[in-house]
Symmetry: C2
Subunit: 387 residues, 2 copies
């Protein structure tokens, strides 16, 4: 295990009917709130009205910032920052998926500086301060409700970039599994793929099994996600399945899974961000489409780790290391098929002719994340596995 610092003070309020607590939990951080939300999920389950009532009952002055789009864009964030400045807003409330929460984070940090918010994403400026954030995630998988990361797309340069800072950790996250009953089957699958991708990025990002604790931790969350996803798709109102997916999504990316692993890369997300910079695919769908090809790539380049995963997840014992690794990749791919997720780029109507553009697009993120082992040529090779 490498040295690490783990600090995650986000207060998690988990359970049915917990959304009405948002007002009281937010009021401690300010009197004027910006409510950030998207286009769909807040309109389900009467959530919009519940949140407005709760904030109003707690005496908050509410300013609206709705219609946040998937793969959220810089333009909308800049508008949110303007609203915060014009009204001296003190706290940001995010109700929605990962895009909504990430937008809230960008607004919370961007509102307190004189320069443009994109300077943070270009690595030109560091985040020194941010408004407090409270949130209610409405889909499992992004992990943004209890972590320090945010991802934003610059529509002009076609760059989707992710950065992190502990000041972006939400103060409070209210997780009600029942709010995710209305997530359609496809997006339930995408969320599960997102959770598993987060864990596998760390799992495969090392050659040795020197951290058995982290291996067991990640395997447990992957198994939980696999077991619960099909149940939630078959029976959208299955509370226990939704609860397991939601809490697993949080625990997969709240800092524990990466603690002790040293410098961890995020190559799959880097490539998916490049795809999102060019194509309007759902983030989780992009990850699912890349996963089987990436697993094949890992079977070749890191068979020991893939085999260890298969032994942990599926108890595969037959065959040598490579045989077990191959079987592991096949079983994970079969599961993606089963939940109805895309399993190759063709499923997203992305053809081999697009590979150079995707590889090129990922260069800036690779530079920012210091992933020197992933120059465009390597990414092209990897993408070729994903055709």
């Amino acid at each position: 295990m490498y040295n690490f610092v783990f600090e995650n003070p986000t207060k998690i309020i988990f359970g049915r009917d917990s959304a009405p607590r948002i007002g009281a939990e937010t009021a401690g951080f300010g009197k004027k709130a910006l409510l950030v939300y998207g286009r769909r999920s807040i309109r389900q389950n009467n959530l919009y009205q519940i949140v407005l009532d709760s904030l109003a009952d707690a005496g908050l002055e509410i300013h609206l910032h709705g219609g946040v789009q998937p793969n959220p864009g810089l333009t909308q964030v800049r508008a949110g920052i303007e609203t915060v400045r014009n009204h001296n807003i003190e706290v940001v409330v995010a109700v929605g998926g990962g895009s909504v929460i990430d937008s809230a984070k960008a607004i919370a940090a961007g509102a307190l500086v004189n320069h443009d918010v994109w300077q943070f994403f270009k690595g030109k400026k560091g985040i020194k301060n941010a408004l407090p954030i409270t949130c209610i995630p409405t889909i499992a998988g992004s992990g943004s409700e209890a972590n320090s990361g945010m991802v934003l797309t610059n529509e002009t340069t076609r760059q989707k970039i992710g950065i992190g800072n502990k000041l972006l950790l939400p103060k409070v996250a209210i997780l009600d599994p029942a709010l995710t009953f209305s997530v359609p089957p496809a997006y339930t699958a995408y969320g599960a793929a997102d959770t598993i991708a987060h864990l596998l990025e760390f799992y495969f990002n090392r050659e040795e099994s020197f951290a058995p604790l982290q291996d067991h931790y990640s395997e447990g969350l992957i198994l939980t996600t696999m077991e619960s996803c099909m149940a939630a798709i078959t029976e959208p109102g299955n509370y226990q399945a939704r609860a397991a997916l939601l809490w697993a999504g949080t625990l997969a990316l709240n800092g524990i899974s990466a603690s002790g692993l040293g410098r961890v890369g995020f190559p799959l997300h880097m490539i998916e961000h490049a795809i999102n910079g060019i194509f309007a695919t759902a983030h989780g769908a992009g990850l699912a489409a890349l996963l089987p090809g990436w697993l094949k790539w890992c079977v070749i380049n890191n068979p020991g780790r893939v085999a260890r995963l298969g032994q942990g997840l599926f108890k595969i014992k037959e065959g040598d290391e490579t045989a077990i690794a191959r079987q592991t990749a096949l079983q994970l791919t079969a599961w993606l098929h089963e939940i109805g997720a895309p399993t190759r780029l063709a499923d997203l109507t992305i053809g081999p002719e697009q590979i150079p553009a995707i590889a090129e697009n990922s260069a800036m993120q690779a530079k920012l994340w210091k992933l020197r082992e992933y120059p465009p040529k390597v990414i092209e090779d990897l993408l070729f596995q994903c055709i």
Copy 2:
């Protein structure tokens, strides 16, 4: 999953040579510090001098409260509270095992009230405030470095009582696995038994497997502890094994393992506390001595959960539920033997004639923890399994 609130802001600084950071991490909480430590561990590894130097370098005025005994006593805590009051101490620094950290917590809470600190433990008064605490644990297993619990023994009434309050969560915990190289084999085993007991208390404290996430989480930490304990005993300077034991001990009792399980009892700890109220045994040794008998008890009363554990831990597939449960109990007991831990009360020279006194002693804790399903008669039955 039941509704829950999870909030654990303790900052974990994990890694080799991290102890000298204690001064800088503590200085933010006050200028006058009480240094709480025990009788042995702080004298190893030059730790005493490192801590003193670091605190002094950070400009802290240091007051000493050393010699804390295992199963820490009320008398020493009262003396610590006096020291805090006499010198207007603002922050408490604990360097040692669970007893030392628990004493620091009791001092931190007790110093800010006019009534006697034992009123908290009797349930007569609630904790409304506490001095900030920073700590360096020197043994894996108690979990106290990053949780809200504390256990104290009243030497007069022979009662050892545990209570919890989120105000007791340390602000910072510095975990250096190398500091545990000097933990003797027996205490390494006791610490591992403590970690596993914490997890199993929650694991068996329900009849259904409605929380697969928590099952996988706990199984992963139990496996980690089992795999690493023998390595640490055989090779005391095995950093990776010590690191796994230390971080597993923290993650076993930092709130995640119990989140979502509803009201969780702690019956094994309750009984062990009763033993400690009467006999001067090490806490982890007492737990180890009780574990095999408790497992037998669980095989009878909750075979489905024990079988699920065995399937998760040992991949046992042969036989019906009871057969798998029995095999699970046998394998866990065999592991306790292997690491040199006691496996029955006789190993602690506690005979059957002591059972009524232990059962009687546990009554107050049972009342405080509202464990109505454990009247003295049931505890006697259970203890008889542990002979």
